[in-house]
């Protein structure tokens, strides 16, 4: 997939499918940015362990001609699942196919709604986050830019489920794009589930932006369980205003090559973020977490608790950086990264980083990579528990630190089972 190929696809799309002039301009900027940078490779420090240069030799489709058959079993099942939720949204191949949202919450496709788009500072909303070429690619070629607005003072206790599905068209690159605008004093709880319906080799390149206005609270759980030959790259980009908080939980079990970029900017005082993450990278999987937390204002706080497991020939990467800018006093930041290697061939690379330019801050970080403790295994075995189950018990104990942060018992149970099942394979 040469850059020329992608440029031509963009030209075609711009002529056919992008009716709004201002959107076209934004997308043009994005594609230029992408073409300047190309696919990320090892030469870029942030992509040191995950080289996407191989994409130059693959050919993906960005706008397939075929339409989805909703009677298909896998799709039917998923549809039923989404419909069964009190609040649910479904995106299929990057396009909104269903939404049942709480009252007053509306969703707009910026690419098509000119009145809506004209009232937004699109450059700021879209191009500003293009800090690596994959978000630019998404900005340029995502079929829909979906803008969800959580109005002022709206407090939604029940979670909203987002099912983001790749239909599994061979070599299709789906690019979901969602912007979540949390207005003043709003509270929202979101669960994003990335799934793929078929085994075909495909690519998901997703971008989720969260803009939080004063006093808003956002809880975000992302569970990625795509098929094992799926490439999954996604970016979460959160901008926090005064007295806001965001809790992000990332869980990755699926995918062949996975790269999650989570970036949080604490832009005003009393804003805080808590990031939790856990992955299991099994045979031939490569899972890379890249986290950036920027303390851009005084009295901001952040914490990270991340647990990675690699098994068989799985590779895990956790590269996390907290940056405290100049003259930012009273910032607190904690980073804790723990990893578990379950086989001789598995690999983990981990890099916790604190970059601090202010004096009056309280920051800590720590990282470990270890194996299961033989003494713990023996203790369990000496109680009659077989080695495999003992391993599974200990791995679950390791991962539970993250799972227990999830508010919903049924999801906690589901994920505990999922980890166990994958480990017993």
């Amino acid at each position: 997939m040469t850059l020329n190929y992608i440029e031509n696809i963009f030209k075609e799309e711009a002529n056919k499918n992008i009716p709004l002039e201002n959107i076209k301009n934004i997308k043009q900027k994005a594609i230029n940015n992408f073409l300047d940078q190309g696919f990320p490779t090892r030469k870029n420090e942030k992509w040191k362990y995950t080289d996407l240069g191989f994409l130059n030799n693959r050919k993906f489709i960005f706008n397939p001609a075929t339409t989805e058959d909703f009677t298909r079993n896998e799709l039917k099942e998923l549809n039923e699942k989404v419909h069964s939720k009190k609040f649910g949204v479904m995106l299929l191949d990057g396009k909104l196919t269903y939404s049942n949202l709480p009252k007053d919450i509306n969703v707009q496709n910026i690419s098509e709604n000119s009145t809506f788009a004209n009232n937004l500072d699109l450059d700021k909303i879209i191009n500003k986050i293009d800090d690596h070429s994959l978000t630019s690619l998404n900005s340029a070629l995502s079929p829909e830019i979906l803008h969800f607005n959580i109005p002022k003072n709206k407090n939604i206790n029940d979670p909203i489920y987002f099912y983001i599905a790749s239909s599994g068209i061979n070599n299709y690159c789906q690019q979901p794009r969602m912007i979540l605008n949390c207005e003043e004093n709003s509270v929202v709880n979101l669960i994003f589930r990335y799934v793929s319906l078929k085994n075909e080799s495909a690519w998901t390149n997703s971008v989720l932006q969260v803009n939080q206005r004063e006093n808003s609270i956002c809880k975000l759980l992302r569970i990625q369980e795509q098929k094992l030959n799926h490439i999954h790259t996604d970016s979460i980009n959160a901008q926090l205003e005064k007295n806001t908080s965001i809790k992000i939980i990332n869980i990755d079990l699926g995918g062949n090559l996975v790269r999650n970029n989570t970036k949080v900017n604490l832009n005003d005082s009393e804003s805080k973020c808590n990031i939790f993450a856990a992955f299991l990278s099994g045979a031939n999987q490569h899972i890379d977490y890249h986290i950036d937390v920027n303390h851009n204002a005084k009295n901001t706080s952040s914490s990270q608790e991340i647990r990675g497991i690699a098994n068989y020939k799985g590779v895990g990467v956790i590269d996390s950086k907290v940056r405290v800018d100049q003259n930012i006093n009273k910032a607190t930041a904690n980073q804790s990264i723990n990893n578990l290697l379950l086989s001789k061939e598995s690999e983990i690379y981990t890099k916790p980083e604190l970059e601090i330019y202010s004096d009056d801050v309280s920051c800590s970080h720590g990282a470990t990579i270890g194996e299961l403790d033989d003494d713990l295994l023996f203790y369990l075995q000496s109680r009659g528990i077989d080695k495999k189950q003992a391993q599974s018990i200990l791995v679950n104990a390791f991962i539970n630190k993250i799972i227990n942060m999830i508010d919903f018992p049924s999801i906690r149970e589901y994920l505990t089972d999922s980890f166990s099942t994958l480990l017993s394979k």
């Binding site: 033989d374 003494d375 713990l376 023996f378 203790y379 369990l380 075995q381 000496s382 109680r383 009659g384 528990i385 077989d386 080695k387 189950q389 003992a390 018990i393 200990l394 679950n396 104990a397 390791f398 539970n400 630190k401």
Partner: protein
């Protein structure tokens, strides 16, 4: 019950047990005493099947069955229980879960149905009371943040639930105050019968006053150098080990 013959065990080519012989009959209580580093804990761990020990020669048979070819879990299911000298903390695994998993492993191996939550609670209630362990402890992580006494009482509770054929208690009495020692010994006595055998590894006579042994052995440099009845423990307490070495 258990027959250990000519057992020689090395770690990194260093001999820890040296042609050790020990036979424990059904229903018997044996105490193994001896100075630090004499090989007492190694003996317990080798019987339970811990990795890292090289059995250079000899055999261990439980009711005629060769234990050395079994994994630790198979030995447990065959009826061996080792009470750890230093019970291990397992953060993130709660006590109820461990107890249930252990119990169910046993039941499954006997082709019985797994126990349900209600029957489980009924089964452990009296035993917890006997060991003076409050119910809140069930939801706590195994041994995490437990006091020394709580850890040892927890070991005995596991033993009471698993009802092993051979209980090996490795310094279960060390670090216990008088009251905790009474609780632990009442736990041991409650399980003792004419079929079940017990090996108490200890430094002190005080436990043996509460749980009276049939035999007392002195282990020194990997060998049993002297055996006798409970009076030997009394003598050792008064005179130390030098005279028997």
């Amino acid at each position: 019950m258990i027959e250990i013959k000519n057992l020689t065990v090395t770690v990194n080519n260093k001999k820890i047990l040296d042609k050790l012989n020990l036979t424990v009959g059904n229903g018997e209580i044996h105490a193994i005493m001896g100075p630090n580093g004499s090989g007492k804990s190694t003996l317990g761990q080798v019987i339970a099947g811990k990795d890292g020990y090289e059995v250079a020669s000899g055999s261990i048979k439980l009711e005629g069955k060769n234990l050395l070819s079994l994994t630790p879990e198979e030995r447990s299911l065959a009826g061996i229980f080792l009470g750890f000298q230093y019970p291990i903390e397992i953060p993130g695994v709660n006590n109820a879960y461990l107890l249930k998993a252990a119990l169910n492993a046993q039941r499954v191996s006997r082709n019985e149905k797994e126990i349900d939550a209600f029957d489980f609670m009924t089964l452990i209630k009296d035993k917890m009371k006997l060991m003076q362990i409050p119910e809140t402890f069930l939801s706590r992580s195994v041994n995490e943040g437990f006091s020394g006494g709580e850890k040892k009482r927890n070991e005995i509770l596991q033993m009471l639930i698993l009802q092993p054929k051979l209980c090996i208690l490795d310094e279960t009495d060390s670090g216990l105050d008088v009251d905790a020692l009474k609780v632990v010994s009442s736990g041991i006595k409650s399980i003792s019968n004419n079929k079940r055998s017990i090996i108490l590894i200890t430094h002190y006579e005080r436990l043996l006053k509460l749980v009276e042994p049939d035999f007392v052995h002195v282990l020194s440099d990997g060998k049993i150098v002297k055996s006798g009845n409970k009076d030997l423990a009394h003598e050792l307490d008064a005179k130390g080990y030098d005279w028997v070495k």
